[in-house]
């Protein structure tokens, strides 16, 4: 998304959006009113882990946002109240409606902003209000375009607190103030991440499972995704793969520790792919990777030893040297861009796998949850991680994944907004 795009589109769309919004709000409110009961009922019946649910009292004014500004992507969660009463509607300022309308009626914003519709959580009760939770992302490099839009929509007039986490909350804080006249409430990204995960998992405990794993990861034919109930989840190793990687050992809701991290993350995959293949997006890179063959690029154990290296129990198919074949000019010429993309993906993924496995051993933790946007639409990496965890630990470690991959930080930020103590 280029700054210009945001500008034009928003500028041109504002008026019609507002009109449409009014119509839609009018028809939607009764339905949401009734669903509030359902939601609340479900909430109370669900287990005791729903501590993340803040009390009804001292509810902040709408709009409710949670923002997570990462190195590559900005993740935005937006709570769309569906239980707005007629009275409320009357009082609701134009700006607020306009924002709601804009966000909920579109699935794409500018040329790079995207709402992940399939992740939307419907009829969610938050702070006594019922509504839908929307998940939106756009590249961090378009932050200024986003700020332009925020200014245009006079966000500052709503006197709301904007809870933001991720490094960008710090980096862009002056920009939010200068360009959009907004004061950010900066939150620690790991606090938000942990809180967000626990919350989403708790609210989805009755619906389709948030957490899943891969059965038979070593057998591509029979490898299937299976739901997993993340009950009594502690201790847990949490691996957040964004541009870089953070690995946390989580012992309870508020007792966690960042064990280590690595700079070889999603940003490395995309960065290297761009340099090696000339691609420009994550989707493009993944698509190429899905069609490539890494064994032409990597040097395998069998390329060196002719088969298994039995002395050390290394199977012939194991990668001995990532990109090892590329030391040779002749072999360089025989590989495709797809092969290179695949090799990059495999290299980064396996490396995360092996660091994770060592951390799990050092921390004596058997369950590993992988999150972060590197895993978005990246079944290849997830299956690789699932396989690597199981194979190298001889079945001791279990790799778990979450549907809302990269949005937990933003969710955590939103929850902080609703937390009366802040």
């Amino acid at each position: 998304m280029k700054q210009k795009d945001y500008h034009c589109e928003n500028g041109g769309a504002t008026k019609t959006e507002l009109e449409e919004a009014r119509e839609r709000e009018a028809t939607a409110s009764p339905a949401s009113g009734s669903s509030m009961m359902t939601s609340a009922g479900r909430a109370s019946s669900s287990n005791a882990r729903r501590t993340a649910e803040p009390p009804v009292k001292s509810r902040p004014p709408f709009p409710w946002f949670g923002l997570d500004i990462g190195g590559t992507l900005v993740k935005l969660v937006y709570f769309e109240p569906k239980d707005i009463t007629a009275e409320e509607e009357q009082e609701e300022v134009e700006n607020l409606k306009s924002i709601r309308k804009y966000l909920t009626s579109n699935v794409a914003y500018g040329s790079t902003g995207i709402r992940d519709v399939h992740l939307e959580l419907k009829e969610l009760t938050l702070c006594g209000r019922t509504g839908n939770l929307h998940f939106i992302r756009f590249p961090t490099q378009d932050m200024h375009a986003f700020l332009q839009m925020v200014r245009q929509k006079h966000f500052s007039s709503l006197h709301t607190t904007l809870c933001a986490t991720g490094g960008g909350a710090y980096k862009f804080e002056p920009d939010f103030r200068m360009m959009a006249n907004l004061q950010l409430l900066k939150l620690d990204e790991l606090d938000c991440l942990v809180r967000g995960i626990l919350y989403i998992d708790s609210v989805k405990s009755n619906g389709p499972s948030e957490c899943y794993y891969f059965e038979n990861p070593s057998d591509p034919e029979h490898c299937i995704q299976k739901p997993y109930r993340l009950e009594n989840p502690y201790p847990l190793l949490l691996v957040n793969i964004g541009s870089g990687v953070s690995i946390l050992a989580v012992y309870s809701e508020d007792n966690y520790r960042r064990v280590t991290g690595t700079s070889l993350g999603g940003g490395t995959f995309l960065g290297l792919c761009c340099l090696l293949t000339g691609c420009s997006t994550f989707e493009e890179a993944l698509d190429m990777a899905s069609r490539g063959e890494s064994t032409r690029v990597d040097k395998l154990v069998r390329d060196i030893y002719g088969g298994d290296y039995e002395r050390f129990g290394l199977p012939g198919w194991a990668v001995a040297s990532s990109f090892g074949n590329m030391m040779c000019k002749a072999k360089q010429e025989s590989v495709s861009k797809e092969d290179l993309a695949r090799a990059t993906l495999v290299t980064i993924t396996n490396n995360i796998g092996s660091i994770t496995r060592m951390c799990a051993l050092n921390e004596n933790i058997e369950r590993v949850v992988f999150v972060g946007n590197f895993l978005r639409v990246n079944t290849l990496s997830m299956k690789l991680l699932a396989y690597a965890m199981e194979y190298w630990s001889k079945g001791q470690l279990k790799a778990l994944f979450l549907q809302h991959e990269g949005y937990f930080g933003a969710v955590g930020a939103l929850l902080e907004l609703l937390n009366p103590s802040t």
Binding site: G70, E173, L272, L276, R311, M326, C328, Q332
Partner: protein, 775 residues
């Protein structure tokens, strides 16, 4: 990989064949046996065992039952041929493998060898070539087993083998003491991939992990990104690059540091995180740098995770990714420091490139039991650590590194720690590390250079009847001068540079050109002269009161020590004025209080009960040993203290050797009943130190000496002379009483210590424990 490297080289139009100077490379091939070869991606390492015939000076006592005539020498000196064992290791580029094999075939004459042990990735590829050229059967050995065997061998036998690398420190290399127990340790071998091996004992090791992101990844990915073919060039690019233009740093995300986690702004958050864009070009240098950081950090992180899991603190790095490259040693060191917060140090090895070849060789030599011997690095025949200056252009480096050699001499004695060392693991023999002290380094290098003429002259004079003495002496001069020049530029070439290593290197170079004992005749003459005065000295001592005598004995010991050819100031005087006498020496000595003066404490101690047994490390021949040491020893014996006299196994300067001392002792015994009785009753014992150095390394002493020391319950150690008590062992901590005494016969050193020339050091030390017991 090997294929690629070869093709690359040929295209770079490097000569494939070269003329090999046989007296420099592949030496002693005539007697070579037991070959081993390690063929890596670009370098071949050849190992063989040879026997070296070299001249040694032997002394033999005349039959003295016959009536003595004035002017008859005390003993006879003859130069004899002696055969010792030597290990040769030669490293060269794979490009030259054919030339080298041809050369070996042509020069290999007397060998019964039928097989050649081979290891390394290229061993398979070159199998046929080797078998065809050398008519030896190639016997392949497991790479990792060889690597570990080699690693154990160098760690055990080469002092200062391991070092830590500190790019911005005064000396880049900080060498580690050899820990008496080398196990357990972690070896991280960074070849095309990474292997992490835990070594628990000589035969027990386990590959506990590894990573596919290694040297091959740097090379392969680097080649793709920068279109640069050669590994060295990639490192060059990297050393000039700025990674922050390619990497996403914490500050790029946070605007500053992520303080709550203690992550600084300059930390890499995402390697190549900024290159995910199509509208920007990145320089080769920057990409190479980013890649280097990415890979080094990743390896460092895994190494730390494994070290922690297995609770290991000694972590050695090797493999072609490391091999003497300052760039990678620096990034790996940085990474280890970062991930362990300084708890673990990254250790590197001087002979890392030879480990596989050494191990393969040892595999083949198992029947000879090479591990039961001690070995020593021959400074004359070894290239030392190559210059690793990153400014050197890679072609130059490749060339200068074309033929690198390591030679190890089998020592006739097995060497062990002095059992009286307080803490063997922290014992450092040398007082000043010239690698770190630039001023001292400059002084000593010049000092040795200035003294060279004299040494050459002395060497020629020592062999009036032997052929080509002058030519050989000239070759010696060239070689030693070259070593000194090398050390001026690369003080770290053979580990920490010390006065001891400079002296030892000179001895090795002299031996190399068949000057086994240039001072033999001088020593003979001085011994003769001194013996004539022995009885007179003893008699005059007997006349003194007890207290006067004690002081006279110490003074005699010190005056005797003035007679030292090793010190330039003295060798000048001795050369010009042979009448420079014992009395004159006494007059030259500094008046009390001495520079270091513990005489009063020593005298007090002597008023107490006698020592059980004294171990005395002696120094020079002539007046020193005969008129200084023997009267002192005689007094100890009279007090009821047993004495063990430890002298050098082989010659070094004018130091008295064990065989000379045996003859001298016999002669003195014939004149003196105290000595005679002590010898007869086994109260006076002569042992050899196991060393042929003018200095003393208490961690490498003859095993027999260590046994005697324990058996006799030694409770006093006397160390005499500049080489043994000042240049080395000045700070050595023993767990019994010790006496370190010397006359500083070098004005520079004297000034440095705060005194003048002929200042006296008389250091009497009592370990903490026994002091408490006494009180």
């Amino acid at each position: 990989m090997a294929d690629c490297a070869r093709k690359g080289r040929t295209r770079d139009s490097m000569d494939k064949s070269i003329t090999l100077p046989p007296d420099e490379i592949f030496r002693n091939l005539e007697n070579a046996k037991r070959f081993a070869i390690d063929i890596g991606g670009s370098l071949t390492k050849l190992a063989y065992y040879s026997t070296v015939q070299h001249k040694v000076a032997k002394v033999r006592s005349f039959d003295h039952t016959a009536k003595e005539t004035e002017g008859d020498p005390l003993y006879e000196i003859s130069v004899q041929e002696e055969i010792t064992a030597r290990l040769h290791f030669i490293k060269f580029e794979n490009t030259y493998i054919e030339t080298c094999l041809d050369f070996i075939k042509d020069h290999l004459v007397n060998t019964e060898t039928k097989v050649i042990k081979a290891t390394g990735g290229g061993a398979y590829k070159f199998k046929e070539l080797i078998e065809k050229k050398l008519r030896l059967k190639v016997d392949k050995e497991d790479e990792m087993t060889c690597l570990i065997k080699g690693c154990n061998f160098v760690l055990r036998n080469i002092p200062h083998e391991a070092f830590v690398y500190a790019k911005h420190a005064d000396s880049e290399f900080r060498f580690q003491n050899t820990h008496p127990d080398i196990f357990p340790y972690l070896l991280i071998n960074i070849g095309s991939g990474v292997s992490i091996v835990k070594v628990e004992s000589e035969d027990k090791f386990e590959r506990i992990g590894g990573s596919s992101i290694g040297g091959g990844t740097f090379w392969g990915l680097g080649a793709l990104l920068t279109k640069t073919k050669r590994f060295d060039e990639l490192l060059q690019l990297a050393s000039r690059g700025q990674h922050s233009s390619v990497d996403m740093l914490v500050k790029d995300i946070y605007g500053g540091a992520y303080s709550s986690l203690g992550l600084t702004g300059d930390l890499i958050a995402s390697s190549f995180g900024k290159s995910a864009t199509t509208d920007k070009e990145f320089s080769k240098e920057d990409m190479a740098k980013s890649l280097l950081h990415m890979i080094s950090n990743d390896i460092g992180q895994l190494a730390c995770l494994y070290a922690r899991l297995h609770n290991l603190s000694r972590v050695y790095f090797g493999g072609f990714f490391i091999r003497g490259h300052p760039v990678t040693m620096h990034t790996i060191t940085y990474s280890i420091n970062f991930f362990t917060k300084g708890e673990v140090q990254a250790l590197f090895l001087r002979h890392e490139g030879y480990l596989g070849a050494i191990g393969a060789f040892l595999k083949g030599a198992e029947e000879d039991n090479p591990n039961q011997y001690s070995w020593g690095e021959n400074y004359a025949g070894s290239s030392g650590l190559m210059s690793v200056s990153p400014d050197l252009n890679p072609m130059q480096r490749a060339r200068s590194g074309t033929f690198d050699m390591l030679e190890m001499d089998r020592l006739e004695r097995q060497l062990v720690n002095l059992p009286l060392l307080q803490d063997p693991s922290s014992y450092v023999p040398d007082t000043v590390d010239l690698t770190e002290d630039a001023l001292a380094r400059e002084y000593w290098l010049s000092c040795f250079e200035d003294a060279l003429d004299g040494v050459v002259k002395r060497a020629v004079a020592s062999q009036p009847d032997l052929p080509q003495a002058a030519e050989r002496a000239e070759k010696f001069r060239q070689k030693y001068l070259h070593k000194l020049q090398t050390l001026r530029h690369q003080p770290f070439a053979y580990g920490s540079l010390t006065v001891r290593s400079l002296l030892d290197t000179r001895e090795h170079c002299l031996n190399e050109f068949n000057f086994p004992d240039p001072y033999s005749k001088v020593k003979q003459k001085e011994n003769d002269v001194a013996l004539k005065y022995f009885q007179k000295v003893v008699m005059s001592l007997e006349k003194l009161s007890w207290e006067q005598r004690q002081f006279a004995l110490v003074k005699g010991l010190l005056a005797g020590n003035v007679f030292d050819w090793g010190a330039k100031a003295i060798s000048d005087v001795l050369e010009s004025d042979p009448e420079f006498g014992f009395e004159e020496a006494k007059r030259q000595l500094q008046e009390r209080p001495w520079l270091v003066d513990c005489y009063n404490e020593w005298l007090e101690r002597l008023k107490g009960p006698p020592h059980k047994c004294a171990l005395f490390f002696v120094d020079n021949s002539g007046i020193d040993i005969i008129l200084g040491v023997f009267p002192f020893v005689r007094e100890l014996l009279c007090r009821g203290t047993e004495v063990v006299l430890a002298s050098n196994s082989g010659p070094a300067l004018n130091d008295v050797t064990n065989s000379e001392l045996q003859i001298l002792t016999e002669r003195i015994a014939a004149m003196d009943s105290v000595i005679q009785t002590a010898l007869k009753e086994d109260k006076l014992t002569l042992v050899q130190s196991g060393s042929s150095s003018p200095c003393l390394d208490l961690s490498r002493l003859d095993k027999a000496l260590a046994t005697v020391v324990l058996e006799r319950h030694t409770d006093l150690v006397v160390i005499e002379g500049m080489g043994r008590a000042i240049h080395t062992n000045y700070y050595a901590m023993l767990n019994c009483e010790s006496l370190k005494l010397a006359v500083i016969k070098n004005s520079w050193l004297a000034e440095r210590l705060g005194g003048k020339i002929f200042s006296v050091v008389f250091k009497y030390e009592v370990p903490f424990k026994s002091q408490e017991l006494k009180q």
